[in-house]
Amino acid sequence: MSDLETFRAETRAWLEANCPEEMRQPLGSEGDICWGGKRWEFKSDAQKVWLERMAEKGWTVPEWPVEYGGAGLSKEEAKILKAEMKAIKARSPLNSFGIWMLGPALLKFGNEEQKLEHLPKIARGEIRWAQGYSEPNAGSDLASLMTKCEDQGDHYLVNGQKIWTSYADESDWIFVLVRTDFEAKKHEGISFVLIDMSQDGVTTKPIKLISGKSPFCETFFDDARCEKHNLVGEKNKGWTIAKYLLTHEREMIGGMGQGSGGMRPMGDIAAQQLGLDDRGMLADPILRTDVARAEIDGLAFLATMERVTDEAKSGQGVGANSSMLKYYGTELNKRRFELMMDSAGSDGLEWGAERDVASHWLRTKANSIEGGTSEVQLNIISKRILNLPTA
């Protein structure tokens, strides 16, 4: 038996023995996701036990080194773990921006103390992180951010406002892009700092979207204190970290399109909602046309996700293709929800339930804005892939 096969067998056995039955059920609602953090209240004993056992193994962050709370697994081993978890329908023990965003950034740009201080707490779900990038006047043009970070000798003082800080109202710490040099060119005066949100100088306010409640907040820094050792990377070199994380984020959002592969096909939904005529054709002949076109585009998009991934693996990839996927995937998702609304008819126009189609439909309108607008993606394609000149 090869090492990997041994690993697979052991993993399977461990999961079988340690994953509580309740944690093998599909999520009942978004509320069942475990985010961790100081203020976290476990929804059940099973959720708590599952997180503790997985964290103990280092399997909340399986590829991170052991000394930072991970299990030091290889890519292949991590893939096996994922597959085995999927096989028993195990829920993710822990979701967090710490795992997805800050962790990778610290591993790449942080110093040893920072890694030892922050990563294990992320891995164990003890500290919940928020991200503070965007500002009201710095949307697509993120680098024009103005949150001020002043050197006070032994610490920094931060003043300003961030927007679209997801779950900031439930988080313990926040990683923030701040301006440390107002004289330099806009990309060259930015730093990346970590701020404790439990202090008085940090306040948050939830943002209501047109689609209803949202995890987004505004976060205000009013003489907030940041210890000097919480500057990540070099001062005024934060843009490098930001770019790294933005690409990371774009790939995550682009990936949403792939999730749609698991969605129930639009044509089925429409056929159920509207019925078929005596020739077996959707009762609304025009919606039928639009649904078929969108489903074909959906197939083509899924094939493109696959191809881009496989090309990247084989070294033939076009880097900026993540912009193409982000652009097309989000625009297609908007189209799809317009058609879902067409198909749902007046029933879909009722409002209230958290997960109703209208609320999802409205939420998709942000897909082509967040993580870089469609316009920004088209700019990137035209410049980096087509090499069209700049005026």
Binding site: W164, D284, G345, S346, L349, I369
Partner: protein, 379 residues
């Protein structure tokens, strides 16, 4: 007929614009929503509208109206589309007045039209039974019962049904499902025994109701028009409402473009006013062109309703279809060009995308009317 507003209609437009901007702007709808108003509209604003004669534009003079016609009615609807003013104007002043003045008996006219004109009665048209508009699909039954009829069935998506004093209900007196023949129309008081009205909470924060008719007894004189021959009148009533909705959506689309262009002139990104970017300029210019086309076909349709109401159906479907698509494009482009701020509830643009979606669906969406148009053109 010249494709411009008459002086009279132009003055009405200016007056409506001024009044609505002052007395019923988007913030009124927001307040009604946030306060969870039981009525869903402002009765004092409605009273003011009635006093200005807006509720009497389609009421004949002999019944207390001013009979200005559909162009005038559309001008008011368009201005309401700009401010998203919530009111039973469409269901009552346009559709109720059309129903009664064109198809009512003398007694029915005498009873309802003066009250509509005075703003004292609210009416609603209860036609849909499924999730999609299709007025030939009537399963609500009206059985003969004594001197009158007994109505049994359920209606959905009844705009203003929650606050209506009187419902105009389509029911089947003969014929099978999807047959035009055998549909009859009834005037049903909301307080008739067996009428159950349940308000539906809609995405646009406007009124809509699900209505159950559980053996509702009405007299023979509750019949609007001829028995079994209600389909044609129903289509005329619906067409007046569809044209009104198209006009309303025209106003909303214009307002979306207006707010977006203003935003493009202010917002800076990458050191530039974003309105200088040709990518956005071309999209705004395209949207402008689409809206101009929409405005034209709406005006043409309203003129046709005034001059040849029995030959307006094809134009009505064209207008409802075109304006529905254009208004949705306008709302979608507005949000995208506003970026993140357009997604926040605090900002007004979200109210437009919501209302436009409902207006587009009400009494037949763009697909329904495009299909109907093709059928009327014999293909």
């Amino acid at each position: 007929m010249a494709m411009v507003l008459s002086e009279e209609a132009g003055m009405l437009k200016d007056a409506a614009k001024g009044f609505l901007a002052d007395s019923a702007p988007v913030s009124q709808l927001r307040r009604l929503r946030d306060e969870e108003s039981a009525d869903g509209f402002d009765r004092s604003t409605w009273k003011d509208m009635a006093e200005m004669g807006w509720t009497s534009v389609l009421v004949p003079e002999e019944h207390g109206g001013v009979a200005m016609g559909h162009v005038a009615a559309g001008v008011i609807a368009e201005e309401m589309g700009r401010t998203l003013t919530a009111s039973p104007y469409l269901s009552t002043a346009i559709m109720g007045a059309t129903a009664l003045s064109r198809f009512g008996s003398d007694a029915q006219k005498g009873e309802w039209l003066p009250r509509i004109a005075a703003g004292d009665a609210i009416t609603a048209v209860a036609v849909d039974e499924g999730r999609k508009h299709n007025p030939v699909n009537v399963t609500t039954q009206a059985e003969r019962s004594g001197n009158g009829f007994k109505l049994t069935g359920a209606k959905s998506f009844v705009a203003e049904g929650h606050i209506a004093d009187m419902l105009i209900v389509s029911a089947r007196t003969a014929g099978g499902d999807a047959e035009e023949e055998g549909i009859s129309l009834f005037l049903v008081p909301q307080d008739a025994a067996g009428v159950k009205i349940q308000r539906a909470s809609m995405v646009d924060s406007r009124n809509s109701a699900r209505i159950e008719l559980d053996g509702v007894e009405v007299d023979a004189d509750a019949l609007l028009g001829e028995v079994d021959a209600g389909y044609k009148p129903l289509e005329s009533i619906l067409d007046s409402g569809r044209a009104g909705l198209a006009a309303e959506m025209s106003g909303s689309a214009q307002e979306c473009l207006h707010q977006t262009v203003e935003y493009l002139k202010e917002r800076k990104q990458f050191g530039e006013i974003i309105g200088t970017y040709q990518g956005l300029q071309h999209r705004a210019a395209h949207l402008y062109s689409e809206i101009e086309l929409g405005k034209s076909i709406v005006l043409k349709t309203l003129q046709t309703l005034d001059m040849a109401p029995d030959h307006a159906a094809m134009m009505v479907s064209a207008a409802k279809s075109k304006m529905g698509q254009v208004a949705q494009l306008a709302a979608q482009e507005s949000i995208q060009m506003h970026g993140g701020i357009g997604m926040t509830d605090e900002y007004d643009i979200g109210f437009f995308i919501k209302r436009v979606r409902v207006a587009e669906a009400l009494f037949g969406d763009a697909n329904y009317h495009t299909d109907k148009f093709a059928r009327m053109r014999n293909y």
